[in-house]
């Protein structure tokens, strides 16, 4: 087993363990942290595929930004785990059967007999100063400009959807407007009522 193979299997094992951890951990914070580990192991495997730019982006964007935000949200929310796990055990046998069938199928099909070196030649290694970023940039705005634009529209829709679902103007909420408070005059607030003085009871 060569060094790269060793690295590949090590990171693959970490990735699978961490992915299992995401769905089995009792504590949502642990789940989120396992997901971070999954992303990290994935990016290491991408690095082996010479996809350096994507590997670094995955760490920077997902691990660095998205997951940290996610952790914050998880910590803010009071998630009742026992209620979420209601009915979980009932579906476990069914889920395991489906998962087993899928795994067996994948082992049978995504193996060396279909994707081995006899079927697909090993891709040529790039030289050390080969720029991954430049290559991506070259096709992103030319060959793939149409999918790129649609992806941009999808992000726009996500923003519109998120804002329209969460932003509320509550008319019943009371808040202060200092500008108006300063402008208030005595006449606006105070009304002097002239009353007859009460007579002393006899």
């Amino acid at each position: 087993m060569s060094f790269t193979e060793g690295v590949f299997y090590a990171f693959s094992a970490i990735m699978i363990m961490a992915a299992l951890g995401v769905i089995t951990a009792r504590n949502p914070v642990h789940s989120a942290l396992s997901l971070v580990l999954t992303f990290f192991a994935t990016s290491a495997i991408w690095m082996l595929l010479e996809a350096e730019f994507l590997a670094i982006t995955l760490v920077l964007v997902y691990v660095g930004a998205v997951m940290v935000l996610f952790l914050f949200v998880v910590m803010m929310l009071d998630i009742n785990i026992t209620r979420m796990r209601e009915g979980f055990m009932r579906y476990v046998p069914f889920g395991i059967v489906i998962a087993l069938i899928l795994v067996v199928q994948m082992v049978m099909i995504v193996g060396p007999e279909n994707f081995g070196l006899e079927q697909f030649a090993e891709p040529a290694r790039h030289v050390a100063d080969h720029s991954n970023t430049k290559e991506l940039g070259r096709v992103l705005y030319t060959d793939y400009v149409y999918p790129f634009e649609i992806a941009a529209v999808i992000l726009l829709v996500a923003i519109v959807a998120a804002i329209s679902l969460t932003m509320r103007r509550r008319p019943e909420t009371k808040y202060q407007t200092p500008g108006k408070q300063v402008m208030v005059k005595k006449e606006d607030r105070l009304r002097v009522v002239s009353m007859k003085a009460e007579e002393k009871e006899k």
């Binding site: 099909i109 995504v110 149409y146 999918p147 992806a151 829709v157 329209s164 679902l165």
Partner: protein
Amino acid sequence: MTLELLNYAVAWPEIFLLTMACVVLVADVYLDDENRNATYLLSQLTLLVTLVLIAVKATSASETVIAFNGTFVSDALGDVLKFFIVLIIAIVFVYSRDYLKDRNIFKGEFYVLGLFGVLGMMVMVSANHFLSLYLGLELLSLSLYAMVAFDRDNPNASEAAMKYFVLGAIASGMLLYGMSMIYGMTGSLNIAEVATAINQMGDTNIVLIFGLVFMVIGLAFKLGAVPFHMWIPDVYHGAPTTVTSYIASAPKIAGFAMVMRLLAEGMGGLQADWQGMLVILAVLSMAIGNVIAIAQTNLKRMLAYSTISHVGFILLGILAANNDGYSAAMFYTLTYALMSVGGFGMIILLARAGLEAENLDDFKGLNQRSPWYAFMMLILMFSMAGVPPTVGFWAKLAVLKAVIDIDMLWLALVAVFFSIIGVYYYLRVVKLMYFDDPVDETPIEKSRDMQIALSANGLAILVLGLYPAALMSLCVSVFS
């Protein structure tokens, strides 16, 4: 690469729609609630101009053009489907206004998301690449998830949106996994290149079949074919009725386009494999859809199960895997979208502030309240059941003929058997309208444009049933 290679002129309708959707989005921010009508009118104007652009493009240049470096295809099939998608969403928008106003959710986001959804459908219809197909699908789905959850104070809608989102994400995952398998084997994401690669490899390649299975599962989820139909009744029921009419109509046309692009164009070489899968899906959909619909007392749920059975019929046409079958399925899809939008339009017509009018009992004695709309509902129900002289009859006939032509007589018999079961629940609505006494005597008050559109919708189904030749020949010409 030069700009000429992009060939972007064939995408004018999409470009215009995207630009205008952004304009509507920005303009809506500056409008007060009293002027919200302007958003509506601007959205309708956008759809109208898009419709004209599609028609102009279809009549001026009907030959197949590949654009944007093979990610976009402009052909006769795409033009016709896009025309109907835009037309049907324009009808949905007409129906939506009063309903949304009654519920205090007459907001610009509905129209903005609706326009983006139309863009997603148009991208799907013209996809010539797995990537653009998937992105179009996600654009549509994301808009739909948000539209279902749009009525925030309604817990049913939130639940429906959550279910739709989770199941939709699983379906997208399935579809992507299938695509990645096909990509691994063929080395291309371009649908035309995938088709040639598959033809060279033959239909015994196990990896291709493995990928195909995942893709068919993804497609079945999105179309709502049994056994991947669980989300349909809950989403149709939980969503605001205007959103239901959106989901139930035009996205089915886009779904048909997706099946055509992936299975018929991309994986024609594996036809023997997917034909068998579609047979199973079609038979199960017709059986479960028609039988469970009988037990429903809620009209939206009933129409949801009826959708499932209609999807079964559409799949019948596609699995015939020849031009007759494809044109029959296309005719069925287009007319079904028209019937569906009319059916939910009737629910919207009877709904008012504080009443959803979604139960079968709400239709009791409609004939005494309004003979004209009872007649419209009668046409719609007859058409869904497939009773002549409505257009639903011709759609079913064309599909059954295509199935018989490929020597699958048993399948045609099964289809007829289950559609006869289906007639029961459609006729039950007619019985309630004509032979029962109304429980609710409130007069029907809806704005004039909605009344005209709904009447035109109902009459179109009757007129198309009397003169089906024009639409039928259009569907045939697309595939010849």
